[in-house]
Symmetry: C2
Subunit: 225 residues, 2 copies
DNA sequence: TCAAAAGTGTTAGATTTACACCCATGA
DNA sequence: TCATGGGTGTAAATCTAACACTTTTGA
């Protein structure tokens, strides 16, 4: 059946997902207790094995769908992790992906059924194997990404206030920024549109709601690399 | 023997190396004709299969050593490539690494024995499978890296002139930079040390030779992230 | 003596940072 | 009426980019 490469060893390949959410002005990630031996009961990222008939991206998307019921989640590869002993059971190489979702899109019932929970990205417990490493690398990549690309919208509802956008940015880069300077920068981004709508849930005065215009963004020549 | 994960499929895992060199003011990469079916004879990166008793990094380092006879090559992971049909033979997932070497360190006899050659990074032919994709991604990563980290020294001899350093920088980022501005920036980097030595092979007047001081670099608090 | 590469400062413009007060509203 | 978060402009400092001529020396 196998015609080529007969003499080479195969390995188990998994994907592990670092799923980011933003809630209560905190960056959070979704983790659970490992349901499998070895390591059963340890904190762990959600993952799954790669099948022979699916690409790595497909495996990650499928895994994300299994867990969240959501399609077309924003997702980027973090890298491959392949220490020999990273899994105490047997040799497993894992490709990590980070994903961004809007916490509100994730049915809380489904979340509980899978036994995963949102923990603050700054307070992640010690996890199984090299999962903490995966998380740091993912955070690092996301931090670099957010400085040049509009990924915030993947974590926010379709309508959001500038304060929300700023808090998210601060949570991701890990430092506070000046309100006026931040808003000045946003004004220059034509693809962040002010709507007529007002959010009154977070303040008495009410804050203008903004939305991300993907079309305008895609047409912006600044972003044609 | 295998106690866990029995029900999951395994895949062949390979590493592919994008080996950069700098010669004649040109950024080059090392490629050869594929020696294996399927795809025998097509242009290809140099790669190898990952063994069960070695990490991905070890597999890449071993592959680099096999080809070049060099140890401790600077090397960074590019990412995992895993389309289902990327290899027409059977399912193979590959982890790409880029590596930087000083062309002069590579014995030309050994190079010929392996049937690989240096081609300009801007003139890479169509290659086997997704290897061109790997090269673009590697170039992109390296370009980002060189803007904040001193990786040039991996591609240059221990002593080099500022003009060489500038030409290399230009080749990597793909655009020319102003000589005076470039040298001003270099002056601010304490870890690039001027020596008393003069290179007279490239000009009549002679150019001062510089060296990279790793110790100074490692102690520079700017680079503690 | 001249061609070829090395070496060297200044200025204008752009970008970034720091900073403080008034507004609207519901409780 | 007051506490809370929303909203706004200016000036200094820093960084970046543009620019041209002199030096040395081997051929």
């Amino acid at each position: 059946m196998t015609m080529f490469y007969q003499e080479f060893q195969k390995v188990l390949l998994s994907v592990d997902c670092i799923i980011f959410g933003f809630d209560n002005n905190k960056l959070k990630i979704l983790i659970g207790r490992r349901q499998m031996d070895p390591g059963r009961g340890e904190w762990s990222l959600y993952g799954g094995f790669v099948r022979n008939d699916e690409s790595l991206d497909d495996a990650a998307a499928r895994t994300l769908y299994e867990l969240t019921g959501l399609h077309k989640i924003y997702m980027r590869q973090v890298g491959a992790f392949g220490s020999v002993d990273r899994d105490p059971g047997e040799r497993v190489v894992s490709v990590a992906y980070y994903a961004l979702i809007n916490v509100k899109d994730y049915d809380d019932r489904l979340r509980q059924e899978h036994g995963v929970e949102w923990v603050e990205a700054d307070k992640v417990p010690a996890m199984f194997s090299d999962h903490n490493e995966m998380v740091s690398k993912a955070r690092q990549l996301m931090k670099e990404k957010i400085k040049t690309r509009p990924i915030s919208f993947q974590l926010l509802p379709p309508l959001f206030t500038l304060t929300q956008l700023q808090r998210l940015y601060e949570a991701v880069v890990g430092e506070e920024v000046d309100k006026r300077n931040f808003r000045k920068r946003i004004k220059d981004m034509d693809y962040i549109e002010k709507t007529e709508l007002i959010d009154k849930t977070h303040s008495k005065r009410g804050a203008a709601l903004y939305r991300f215009n993907k079309k305008t963004y895609d047409e912006d020549p600044t972003f044609k690399l």
